[in-house]
């Protein structure tokens, strides 16, 4: 395997890890995400972990802020469900939720939270799995399969996560009591949106030029 390809795989792995970390950070703070943040370095992911780490307050404030933003019971200030942003702000389990769940099941996974399938943590983790699948394909030299994974990632971001991450982030920034969740909002939004643009550019190049996948992967910076 060439150095270039190894570099590209490492970069894609970094993308994957970023989704994985983001997914964990949207989970309740005692679910392991904070430990993950501690163990992650700037080199592992494509977001500013240092900034996030610095913003981590005491555990109690974190739990309360997470509950207020994403759980309730009184202040569901940043509902973590796609349905609320794309279909109806007073409803979960809409057509959008069903489409997301269908995506999961077609891909061979299902929601494992006591939450609707379009919970932000699940959509982030699903994107992580799509990128991880791509990395596995690249590792195996299965470039066609890896290319399809890129398409699938773009498709999922443009049909789902990318459609509402900015509104979720706005709610988080507006209502978060801790700097941590404000920072997480910024990082999640800018990464997901940039990743969507990057995927679009890559697919556009694959469609419209003779560049091969490795060349295309080289083309985009992760930051």
């Amino acid at each position: 395997m060439s150095d270039t390809l190894d570099d590209r795989i490492a970069a894609e792995r970094q993308r994957a890890e970023t989704y994985r970390l983001l997914a964990a950070l949207f989970q309740p703070p005692d679910a392991g995400g904070m430990d993950g943040l501690e163990a992650t370095t700037d080199a592992d992911v494509s977001i500013a972990v240092g900034r996030l780490r610095e913003a981590v307050p005491d555990r109690d404030s974190l739990k309360l802020d997470h509950a207020g933003l994403f759980v309730g019971p009184f202040d569901l200030l940043a509902p973590p469900y796609e349905s609320v942003y794309v279909d109806d702000e007073t409803r979960v389990m809409t057509e959008a939720t069903e489409r997301v769940r269908t995506e999961y099941r077609e891909a061979g996974v299902d929601i494992d939270l006591d939450e609707p399938a379009d919970h932000v943590a699940a959509e982030l983790e699903f994107t992580y799995l799509l990128v991880a699948t791509e990395v596995e394909a690249l590792d195996a030299g299965a470039f066609e399969a890896a290319e399809r994974c890129l398409e699938r990632q773009y498709e999922f971001l443009s049909a789902h996560l990318g459609r509402w991450i900015s509104e979720l982030a706005e709610n988080m920034r507006e209502h978060a009591d801790t700097a941590f969740y404000s920072a997480l909002a910024d990082e999640a939004r800018s990464f997901v949106e940039a990743d969507g643009r990057r995927l679009a550019e890559r697919l556009e190049r694959l469609d419209s030029t003779d560049d091969d996948l490795v060349a295309v992967l080289e083309g985009g910076e992760n930051r």
Partner: protein, 902 residues
């Protein structure tokens, strides 16, 4: 946030065509390789083919029950067969009461089920301070922790020998209710289980109780009736059997005359032949005058009431009758006493002055009603009797049915045939000495004290005085309340002068509440437990009554493919981590109490609640001591409780050998019954309780009483308990009736009592008219967008607004214009509202639909969740006053307010 996304979905079309190029299951394989490091997703054994058309839904109609009001309609729920998502709901097609007809409340249920504002997991208060302006700062906790905290508190009470300081409050229930509401406090040792009943319509039951011995709601035989006279009842809008009555109403109007007595133009009044816009609080005067007209004109039913021996009508206005001249029917007694003590001088002209309804309309309606008898209904709603002194009004209104012989008769007022359900196993053997000592204490609502007779079923203190429990808690009288479990209620919103409950709840050291939504009550709680939604996520049983039948209706966890399998229910039957108040939570609590050394509750459940089909106990079915096994057992317990409750219906052997079977449909096994979800009694047999037909009424005399003999016994019993006489009781309780006092109404016969006002007429010149929203699911639908968007189904209301309806003549005098922001002030509180000038209210009254004014409950229900109310809550201006004979809270009739522009 946007209501509807503006993203153009077309730009994704480019990619949809590529979908099939990614190898199915590739992601799942990667996910499987990652194993337990995933946090939100789990690999499937096999990838699935997605449905290509998401619009075309197919699925099963699964049975359940709507508890959106006390119609309790049998329902069917369409569940998507691929995703288990609830799509639609309707009346149960097999119901002989309503068939597939339902009302909007069932559909609102789906909006509640999938409301993002639901409580989704257990929460714990972190701010020890409690108050309306104090943020509770809730944090999520596990079920195990939450249950453990409650168990710790209960153990502490028992160890300190003060189990009576434990309390349970109930709102809506299913008939699995004894487990949490009765048995749990009994085994712990507290008498303090307080129901919502006295803020519902208990006073309504007083009428039939003290005339024909039925402490019960009636069903009305509208399909055979020729005249319906509705008193403060709005049957096409609210309570009871709305689905059935709405469906029949058109035909009813074709064959019958419908008259409505109501201070505002109700939904039913808008579709009726007559509207009698009574002055609030004075319905009893109309009832007495109508009885007067019926007797004066000789229109009574001879077969039911009797006849003068010589056939000459001696009911002459202003003259009393010699009882010797009248031969009573074997079906009833006391009509002469009623005439002589009450009716003889209650002429329509007198009632017109009292009640503000024209004398000729009183004559016309009374005559029409009596001429249609016995196929005529005097339909008693909560309106005229959930008032000060309302008990006697309830008697007077119901007694009209006796006069025309419509009691239990074709086209009249019926009850429910007996049902084939069994009592749940009771815990008497599991009550220890600590508990017994606690149970000896007086109840916190002070029922049965001299000033609170609450004469349910003829017994002193037999009924509840729900709203007074707040004062009991605040005054620590009879004792302090230290631990409260509240479920399926919102007492801090739904009781009159609800601000008192806010204070009371803030005083209780530990309070766990079990609810679907974060209510005003939850704001004061220490632990908030998320409840299953009754219509979709749990086991339970309610019943409907109408068209001559009673049905037994099951609640089933419709989203699980195999609801009998606890694992399937926990896995697929709920979207969030929610549990059932009446069964699963008590079970988990029993396990936690056993961990702490108190095993009686668990022993009771384990011994008395096996699966009646397999005979296996809970632990035999699901062994294991980890919390997950306990959760599964809790779900099995829930199922077993329902199977035990309904066993005669589905177990032929039990039905034939162990149960006094009343007749009705018969099922051969549990699954057959559970899949259908509804069971019918035999049809009501007309007149079977009439003594002339060999029957008997449940009064002390066995006949229908116009003279209040059973009430006499009940009042004397209460007086005796307090070593006093009936006159003292009535004086203390602020009634006008007296025993043998020529200047007062007779204490026992149905009679008119002048209402007393809650507020001085000079300071508060208007009567406040409260009534329930047509889209109200017993106070639980305010966070559903449809309830707000379509609230103009209430006559006079407008979409999305909370309006105070004022007669244009009054508004003109006060200079108030349509749309003006106003305040409504009573002696106890003040709310803000918007003025609506409307001819549908009497001059001198302000009418406002109940249900708005939430400052919690969700982002739709409130203006700012947890902070700003949306509109005004009527209960803030309605004072805590009582119809003390029934224990009922006063909502209607006598609440005085002032209004001014803001």
């Amino acid at each position: 946030m946007s209501q509807h996304d503006t993203t153009d979905d077309d730009d994704t079309d480019l990619w949809i065509g590529r979908r099939d190029v990614m190898k199915a299951g590739a992601v799942g394989a990667v996910a499987a390789g990652l194993g337990s490091s995933l946090t939100s997703l789990t690999p499937l054994a096999q990838a699935e083919d997605g449905r290509t058309d998401l619009v075309e839904h197919t699925g099963d109609w699964r049975p359940s029950t709507c508890a959106g009001c006390t119609s309790w309609c049998a329902a069917q729920v369409l569940v998507d067969d691929e995703t288990d998502r609830v799509l639609r709901t309707r009346g149960h097609e097999d119901s002989r009461i309503h068939g597939t007809n339902d009302c909007p409340r069932q559909d609102l249920g789906i909006q509640q089920l999938y409301d993002p504002d639901r409580i989704t997991q257990p929460m714990r208060r972190t701010n020890p301070e409690k108050g309306r302006d104090v943020d509770p700062e809730f944090e999520p906790i596990s079920w195990e922790e939450a249950i453990g905290e409650i168990a710790d508190r209960i153990m502490e009470l028992r160890e300190n020998g003060e189990p009576e300081t434990f309390m349970v409050t109930r709102g809506r229930y299913t008939y699995l209710r004894p487990i949490l509401y009765s048995y749990l406090p009994q085994i712990i040792g507290s008498p303090n289980n307080i129901s919502h009943s006295a803020i519902c319509a208990e006073a309504e039951k007083f009428g039939p109780m003290y005339t024909e011995g039925e402490w019960s709601y009636r069903q009305y035989d509208v399909q055979q009736s020729r005249y319906v006279l509705a008193w403060g009842a709005d049957p096409i809008s609210a309570n009871r059997q709305v689905s059935h009555y709405s469906n029949e109403f058109g035909d009813l109007l074709d064959r019958a005359t419908v008259a409505v007595v109501e201070p505002r133009l109700s939904s039913t009044a808008t579709k009726s032949d007559e509207w009698l816009p009574v002055e609030p609080g004075h319905d009893g005067a109309l009832a007495s005058a109508m009885a007067h007209v019926i007797l004066r004109d000789g229109l009574w039913n001879r077969e039911f009431v009797g006849e003068f021996e010589d056939g000459e009508n001696r009911f002459v206005p202003g003259e009393r009758v010699d009882p010797e001249t009248f031969e009573e029917s074997e079906n009833s007694r006391g009509v002469i006493e009623w005439w002589n003590e009450e009716l003889y001088d209650k002429e329509p002209e007198w009632a017109a002055d009292e009640a503000g309804v024209p004398a000729e309309q009183i004559e016309r309606v009374a005559t029409g009603f009596a001429e249609a008898g016995p196929n005529a209904i005097s339909w008693l709603g909560g309106g005229p009797c959930m008032q000060v002194r309302g008990s006697y009004t309830a008697m007077a209104i119901h007694a009209l049915n006796g006069l025309v012989g419509s009691v239990g008769n074709r086209g009249g007022t019926l009850y429910a045939p007996s049902t084939g359900v069994e009592d749940l196993p009771a815990p008497d053997e599991y009550v220890d000495e600590v508990a017994e000592a606690g149970l000896d204490h007086e109840k916190i609502d002070q029922r049965g004290r001299l000033e609170f007779p609450a004469l349910k079923d003829g017994e002193s203190g037999g009924g509840v005085v729900t709203n007074n429990a707040a004062d009991g808690i605040l005054d620590e009288d009879p004792n302090e309340i230290e631990v409260l479990i509240s479920y399926w209620n919102n007492f801090a919103f739904s009781n009159p002068e609800s601000q008192r409950w806010e204070e009371a709840l803030a005083e209780i050291p530990f309070h766990a509440t079990i609810e679907t939504h974060a209510s005003e009550t939850a704001w004061f709680a220490d632990v908030v437990l998320p409840a299953t939604h009754h219509q979709f996520e749990r086991w339970g049983q309610l019943r409907s009554t109408g068209a001559g039948y009673r049905t037994i209706n099951l609640h089933t966890p419709v989203m699980a493919d195999d609801p009998d399998d606890p694992e399937d229910v926990l896995e697929n039957g709920r979207l969030w981590d929610v549990k059932t108040d009446e069964t699963e939570i008590p079970y988990l609590l029993a396990e936690a109490l056993a961990d702490r050394g108190f095993e009686n509750l668990l022993a009771f459940f384990e011994t008395e609640y096996p699966d009646p089909e397999s005979g296996r106990s809970l632990r035999e079915e699901i062994p294991g001591d980890d919390f997950e096994s306990r959760e599964l057992r809790a779900q099995a317990f829930s199922r077993n409780a329902l199977k035990l409750r309904t066993r005669p219906i589905w177990d032929p052997d039990y039905r034939e050998n162990e149960f006094d079977w009343p007749g009705g449909e018969e099922f051969d096994d549990w699954v057959e019954f559970r899949e259908r979800g509804i069971w019918h009694t035999d049809e009501w047999e007309y007149r079977h309780r009439w003594p002339s037909e060999g029957g008997e009424f449940d009064t002390d005399t066995g006949v229908f009483e116009f003279d209040g003999e059973t009430l006499r016994n009940a009042l004397e019993g209460h007086a005796e308990r307090h070593d006093t006489d009936v006159d003292t009781v009535l004086d203390v309780c602020n009634y006008q009736g007296r025993v043998d006092d020529p200047d007062a109404p007779d204490a026992f016969v149905p009679h008119y009592e002048e209402p007393y006002d809650m507020g001085d007429e000079d300071d508060y010149p208007f009567n406040f008219v409260d009534y329930k929203d047509r889209l109200n699911r017993e106070g639980r639908s305010a966070n559903t967008p449809w309830a707000q968007e379509f609230n103009d189904v209430n006559p006079g209301d407008e979409p999305g607004k909370d309006l105070a309806k004022i007669n244009p003549r009054d508004a003109d005098r006060l200079g108030i214009e349509d749309g003006d922001e106003i305040s409504i002030r009573s002696p106890v509180g003040e709310i803000e509202s918007t003025a609506k000038l409307w001819e549908g209210v009497r001059p001198g009254t302000v009418a406002k639909t109940w249900g708005q004014g939430h400052w919690a409950y969700g982002r739709v229900a409130s203006d700012e969740f947890g902070d700003e109310a949306r509109g005004g809550s009527n209960n803030v201006v309605i004072g805590a006053e009582y119809d003390r004979l029934s224990g009922s809270s006063v909502f209607y009739g006598d609440v005085r307010v002032d209004i001014e522009t803001r």
